[in-house]
Structure formats: C-alpha cells, structure tokens
C-alpha cells in the first residue's frame, strides 16, 4: 500500500513540477529598460522599435489587453537597431526598424524571422505653410535642388535626425547626395571623393538647425521649439499638424522631392531564439497588426497601409491643404550598395555634418565613488576614444569641440579639446584621473558651460550640454536661467539620470532648454551613446 501511495505521490509531484515549468514564462526577464510598457499580463513581448512607432502605442495596447500580455517597447534609431542585430545577444523578441534596409544589412547572423512590412510612409520635407508658399513649393513638383537653393540662400532652415542614427535622417541625406552629384543612376565610391561635393554638402548641412537621434523625438522637439521646417516621415508630419492645428498654429506643408524621395517600410521581425511560445505570440501580434481592421486603424494615423493604398474613407487624414498626396505614386531613389552606403555615413559623421560643440558636465561628487565613477569612465571611453566611437558612428569630426567640466559642489576644472585627434583622447585621461569627493551642484557646472559656449560662433556648430549627475543638486535653476537668457541661443541641456538623481530637477532643465532626459541607471554607456546621437 505504501508503495502505491509513494508512486502516486511521485507522479503527483512530477505533474506538479511539470505544470510549474510548463506554465513558466522563460521569455520574461528584467523589464526595467523599456521606454513604455503596454498591458499588464504575465507573458511579455519585448520589442525594440524606431521611435516613430510610439504613435501606434494605443493599437499595440489594445492587443496587449485583448491577449492579456505585456508589450514592452524600447525606442531607438533604426541604425542603432541595425548595430544591435550584430551583437552577440539581442535582448528583445522582436525588432521594428523604420526600413527593411537596416534589418537586412544588420542581420548578419540571420536570426530574424517572419519580417513583414506593417505600413509604409515616405520621408518628406514639412515646411511651415506660408514659407512653403513664399518659396513657391506649393502646388508644383519640387526637386531636391529647389530645396537646396532655398537652403543655400538662407531662406530655408530645417531640422533633421542624425543620418548615422536614424533612418529618416539617413534617407534625406542620401537624397541630398544624389542631388549634389547631379542625379547619377546610383551613387558610387568614386562619386564620394568629389571635393566640391564636400563643400556643397557642408554648406547644405549648415542649414540644419537642430538634430536628433530619432524621428518621433524630432517631431516633439519641433513642436516645442520655433523652427521652420523638418525632414521627417509623412505620418509624423501629419501628427505634428494635428497638434499644431489644435493649438491654432500654422501647419506644415508636405513637400515630396521627386528626385530624392525614400520610403520607410516599417518591417516587424521576430528574433529567433528557439522559443516556440514567444514565436507564437509574435505571430499573433503580427497577424493582428496586418488584419484588415488594424491596418485601417494604422492608416488613420497617417501611414499608408494595406495593398490597395489609402482608402477613400481615410483620405481625409491625408489632407491636401497640408500638401499631402495620398494617391501619389511614391517613386523613391535607389539606396546605394551597402559598402557605399556605409562610406556615405562615415563621411557624414566625420566630414559633412555641422561640427558638434559638446560640453560634458560630469558629476564627481562623493556619491559617485566606486562603481558609479567606474561606469562613467567606461561610458566616456566609448565616446572619446575614437576607435570605439567609430563602431557606433559617433566618431568626432575634425572641427568639433569637446569641453569637459568635472564638478562637485563647484566646478573642479575645465578642459577643452579641439578636433578628433590627440586632444580629444587626452580628455579621456582627465575623465579617468579626476578624483571624486564633495557635494553636488549641477547648476553651477551648467552655468560655466554656458559661459564657455559664449566664446564660440554657435551658428557654425551643433551645440549641446550633456550633464550627468547622480544626486539631488544644490544651487538654483534661476542662476542657470539667467545665464541661459544671456546666451540668447537655444542650446539643449541633455541630462543623464544616474544613481539618486532628482528626475524633477533634470526634467525642468530639459523642458527649459527643449532637450530631454536619458535614463543612465540601467546602462550608462547606452545612455551616453543615445545622447551623443542627438548632436
């Protein structure tokens, strides 16, 4: 009798164990890094996506609720996603860059499965309507050269994302290259050696008012600031216009350069790690997104979806008084072959873009001692040591300026490095050798940064202050505001939140300077990389 009982007990135990493991979700690990969490089920689908898809969150949330799962969205530029695909481990279940180009180029290990385009949207110029009219861009076909002339004459200034971080910026930049090269069949390596190209492209990119590492944030920044135009996705121009109209402000007019157009096809792909359950969940999500109803809903956000173009009913979203052309045949330029493409991106980073003028205000207060300081040094190594920076297309250009201001309760010292040579790498030695101690006052450091910026002609640079702090700051925002007013230029103060930093203080600074706060608590190196992508 005992035997039976024991066997039954064994069987029971076995089945209990099996149930526990069978029901356990192995896909569920840390969730701290996601930018947005949708739904609250126990199964999790982690997606790394271009920021333009943030606009689709309500649609994703609907699915998360319906299936009782959680969708964790992490937003990065498409080129960052491309680089991630080359990494040993991809800590996501799905990738959703803006264009399949980056997926194909990045997926060298062939881990991406089931990739399918969810919607398409072209990259266009959104120009303040009255200005577009003034420039004669309304109601006619516009070439990239027409835009270039307006930029060269100083009549048109614009914002665009960084070509080495984000798809929309890269697409626009390739369109510029074609135009400046006289619209060849396709860009070749030899074309890029052209000296006059360098001069012209520099001139053109000097018309860039502000840059950003991702498209959706470019739109947000545009809405916060006072700019004339931005290069962005058609769908984000529509979103921006909705907001502008709600505020009673002038909308943007969409210009489709006929010889410089490119299309983002928004592919959603599965990262295959051999977990059948996650794969099933992914396919379910994809099926939902591609279903007729959802495609219609996606179309109503200003994306072109489905096989048959924009439906009659949804044409009201693509308003003609905003310059939108839902029926336009989108005939894009050819992307160059991948080796040429990377050469283009390298040139953008080192030769063509407006040089950055970056002030690093770094916290060396006592609380940073130990791992905090170690992480800081590691992160700066990725930016300042050019061999590392190159891997992420973050290498410095020959005319750029980097200023280092280590601080505690006061400014400890200041160092300036010009160019991308030994001075820059020497800056890293200062970062490494500086000792920690004392209290925290980030405002004093930021004020000093502002003062140092006054010595430069800011129109020749993309200026930014990058501030890292790990604690509640003493000092006062008012002092900073006074100095900022006095500077009379919009310089974003990006901050990286670390340790016990006070998010409210940082948000105040970001809001005041039309910048944003990055969370460095999970991964400081990643945060520095992201912020650097913004200038």
């Amino acid at each position: 009798m005992k035997c039976i009982k024991r066997s039954i007990a064994l069987l029971l135990m076995l089945s209990v164990i099996l149930t526990i493991f069978g029901g356990c979700d192995f896909g569920d690990t840390d969730s701290g890094e996601a930018d947005t969490v949708l739904g609250n089920g126990s199964s999790v689908l982690r997606i790394i996506s271009g920021s333009e898809n943030a606009e689709l969150e309500p649609i994703l949330e609907e699915f998360a609720k319906q299936e009782n799962i959680r969708i964790e969205m992490t937003y990065q530029g498409s080129l960052d996603i491309m680089r991630l695909l080359g990494a040993e481990e991809i800590p996501y279940d799905a990738v959703w860059p803006a264009s399949s180009l980056w997926l194909t180029v990045g997926d060298t290990e062939r881990r991406i499965k089931h990739a399918e385009s969810i919607s398409i949207t072209p990259v266009v110029f959104g120009i303040r309507k009255s200005l577009a009219e003034e420039l004669g861009f309304v109601g006619r076909e516009v070439s990239v050269n027409d835009l270039l002339q307006a930029i060269q004459s100083g009549e048109l200034r614009f914002c665009m994302t960084s070509a080495t971080q984000s798809n929309s910026g890269a697409s626009a930049y390739i369109g510029f290259l074609y135009a400046l090269l006289g619209n060849p069949e396709v860009i070749t390596e030899e074309d890029l050696q052209n000296e006059s190209l360098k001069t012209q492209m520099k001139e053109l990119l000097s018309g860039v008012d502000r840059s950003s590492g991702s498209s959706d944030w470019l739109k947000d920044m545009f809405l916060e600031g006072d700019y004339d135009a931005m290069v962005n996705y058609e769908c984000l121009i529509i979103q921006a216009n909705k907001e502008l109209e709600a505020r009673g402000e002038e909308p943007l007019y969409a210009v489709y350069p006929y010889d410089g157009l490119s299309i983002a096809d928004s592919p959603l792909g599965y990262v295959d790690k051999g977990d059948d359950k996650q794969e099933e969940l992914f396919l379910k999500l994809q099926e939902y997104l591609l279903s007729e109803d959802t495609q219609d809903e996606i179309q109503r956000t200003g994306r072109r979806s489905g096989y048959t173009g924009v439906s009659e009913k949804n044409k009201e979203v693509f308003r003609s008084d905003w310059g939108l052309q839902p029926d336009r045949v989108l005939s894009p330029i050819k992307m160059p072959a991948s080796d040429v493409l990377f050469e283009c991106l390298n040139l953008y980073q080192t030769d063509f873009r407006k040089p950055s003028l970056t002030v690093y205000c770094l916290d060396y207060s006592g609380s940073m001692s130990g791992t905090g300081n170690e992480q800081l040094v590691q992160a700066m190594e990725q930016l300042l040591i050019q061999e590392n920076a190159r891997e992420n297309f973050l290498q410095a250009s020959e005319n750029e300026v980097n200023i280092l201001i280590p601080f505690n309760d006061g400014v400890i010292n200041t160092y300036t490095a010009e160019g991308n040579g030994s001075e820059l790498e020497a800056l890293y030695d200062e970062v490494k050798n500086q000792e920690v101690g004392g209290g925290t006052d980030m405002y004093t450091a930021a004020v000093r940064g502002i003062e140092m910026l006054k010595e430069y002609d800011l129109s020749q640079y993309t200026p930014a202050i990058i501030l890292l702090t790990d604690g509640q700051s003493g000092g006062s925002l008012y002092d900073f505001e006074d100095a900022y007013e006095d500077l009379g230029a919009e310089v974003p103060v990006f901050s990286i939140m670390f340790g016990d930093a006070d998010e409210t203080q940082l948000e105040e600074l970001a809001q005041y300077t039309n910048a944003r706060v990055f969370d460095g608590r999970e991964n400081l190196t990643e945060a520095f990389r992201s912020v650097k992508g913004y200038n």
Binding site: M1, I4, L14, T104, E185, D272, Y307, S331, K334
Partner: protein, 351 residues
C-alpha cells in the same frame, strides 16, 4: 500479503513505465531537423497541412533559418542538418567547397518570372519589349536588356510618374537565388546563347554595369516580393521573382488577391530559366527530409497551395483555382543556366 505487495509494486512500476513511455515517445520519436531555407519556401514549410504530414507520416519537424541560396553555402552550417537552396548551382558550389553532400535531390521547380503593375505592363507592351498572347505575357529579354543598357527612362516609355530609368529589381545575385538566376539569364541574353567561360569575359563588364545601377539589393526573394506588393508601383515597378510566389500569395490571401489582381501582372521572360529547389542533406538526420518532402501529398500541396511545379505537376491542368490570369500552361522557352564555374565567376564579378 507478500505477493499482494509484489503485485502492487509491479502495477506501480507499470504505471510509471507507461507514463515515462508516453513522455519519451512524445518527445523522442518525432525528430527535429534544422537547416537553411530560401525565403520563397517558407510558406510551404509553415503550412500546417504539410507540417501534419511530416509529423504523422515521417515523425519529422523541419525547423529553419532563412538564408539566401548562395549565402547559405558559405555560411557557418554548424548544427544544421540540411540546406534547401533554390538552384542547382548552389549544389555545385557546395560540392566544390565541401565535396559531395550526404544526399541531395530536386524537390520543387518554378520558373523565374517578372512581376509588374498593369500600367507598366501596358507601357512595356506598347514599346515592344513585352507582348501578350492568349492572356499570357512574355518579355523579350533582348529588348529589355537593350533598354536597361541604354538607360532608357521610364518616362521615355510613357511612365512619367516613375523616377529614374528602366531596371529590373532583383535580390542581390551574390547572396540570393532569384537575383543570381536573373544574372545568369542576363548573361545568357548578353552573349546570345548560354554564357560559358569562353564568352563570359566579353560580357562581364556589361553585366557589372547593369547590376551596379541597382544599388542596394534585398537579400531575400520573399522580402523583395513583399515590398513589390506593399510599396507600390513607384518603388518596385518591375522585379524578378519566382512564378510560385504570386500563385502562393493568391492561394493564401484570396481576399487581398481579389482586390489587387487587376493591377498585378506576371510576365515570363523568353527564354526563362528554371529554379530547381534542391535539398542538400548535410548529415544522416537531414536525409529524412528528402523522402518526406517528396511525399505525394506534400508535392500536391506544394502545387495547389504554394504554386511550385513538381514532378507530377510540371504541366498542370488545374491552375484555375489560383484565380491568377496569365499562368503559362507549359514553360516552353527555357534556357539552361550557365554552369557552376561560370556562375561562380559572375558572382565574384558582382561582389
């Protein structure tokens, strides 16, 4: 009492054994094999009916990673049981690098075709590059190649809404099969016969310039076809692909097909080349896939639902169910592909 205990002990042992047997048989008698597969066959391998036959009749689960036909030959195949590229050149290349595989066999066939939109098809017909007989479109490869080489603009043949000049979008010929085969087809056209090592040097520069004009190319046929359908006439006015891609799409998405069928046109190049999907077993476990995929019912499903012409369905009598107009009954104008060495030189020249 003692016998009773022994009896109960035996009973318990039997129960445990039975439970264990069920567990083990569920997990072990179905073998899972894993390999690289060209994207155009994924629909077939994901087909539940096919998966059921594989599992029930052959105790087999076929898992895969997508890879281009040429790419997969040189890719790291550690842990893979098979390769399933889309042409015999890939097999020849495999043999040159690794020697004879454990086993290989042609499983499916499909001709290389061109896909376009009705407005473009009409313009191609009007300009004499294409023609239509009994509802079947054919493309004169000589004339098409001439137009491409001459840099004729789309606007020149009456399509001002398209930017740039006439090209055929293909996958990267150095990575993927449909592009590779289209390169072979172009090489044949340029030399006016079948390209071989004697006539290749004369035509290579021309071939290089045709492909250089394409810039960035997709590495998978299925991605290219998906983009052709979704990004519209402007982005991909004319692409090279497999006949089966459209047939499969129409069979799997009848509603969508109904909405777009007026606008999508399939054209047969004259001559065309056959894509023979050959299964290469890398190890003993992998060989099981060959017999299984040659199963009569799987071959039938391969035609009916996925549009592959198979041994039995080479000249199918039942193409109506696809609802696709212009399917050629018989593919008569077929040229052989250049041999593997010639293709290897072409790939190298285009790399």
């Amino acid at each position: 009492m003692k016998t009773k205990l022994i009896g109960l002990g035996i009973l318990a042992a039997v129960i445990i054994a039975a439970v264990a047997y069920v567990f083990i048989s569920n997990n072990q008698t179905v073998a899972e094999i894993n390999g690289y597969v060209g994207g155009e066959k994924i629909g077939l391998l994901e087909d539940e009916e096919v998966q059921d036959i594989l599992r029930d009749r052959y105790k087999l689960v076929i898992d895969y990673a997508k890879a281009g036909s040429i790419d997969m030959i040189t890719a790291d195949a550690t842990g893979r049981d098979f390769l399933f590229p889309s042409n015999q050149t890939a097999l020849e290349l495999y043999k040159q690098i690794n020697g004879d595989p454990v086993k290989s066999e042609i499983i499916l066939n499909t001709p290389i075709v061109l896909y376009t939109r009705s407005a473009v098809a009409q313009a191609l017909v009007d300009s004499g590059i294409a023609s239509q007989t009994d509802g079947v479109y054919t493309v004169n490869m000589v004339k098409l190649t001439e137009a491409i080489e001459a840099g004729t603009a789309w606007a020149d043949i009456g399509l001002p809404q398209l930017y740039g000049s006439i090209t055929v979008g293909t996958t990267d010929p150095t990575k993927s099969n449909s592009g590779n085969m289209f390169a072979g087809l172009l090489a044949n056209t340029l030399c006016g016969g079948v390209a071989d090592e004697s006539n290749l040097p004369a035509i290579l520069p021309r071939l290089q310039s045709i492909f250089q004009k394409l810039g960035y190319m997709e590495s998978s046929s299925s991605d290219l076809f998906d983009q052709f359908l979704k990004t519209g006439m402007g982005a991909k006015p004319l692409i090279a692909g497999y006949e089966n891609q459209l047939l499969e799409f129409a069979a799997e998405n009848p509603d969508t097909w109904e909405q777009i069928k007026e606008d999508i046109v399939m054209m047969y190049p004259t001559p065309t080349v056959w894509s023979s999907h050959v299964y290469i077993a890398l190890d003993e476990a992998g060989t099981a896939g060959i017999d299984a995929l040659l199963d009569e019912d799987i071959q039938r499903l391969a035609w009916e639902k996925h549009g592959f012409r198979t041994g039995v369905y080479d000249t199918p009598t039942d193409a109506e169910h696809f609802g696709v107009s212009g399917i050629a009954n018989e593919i008569t104008q077929v040229a052989p592909m250049p041999d593997a060495n010639t293709m290897d030189q072409i790939i190298k020249a285009l790399s």
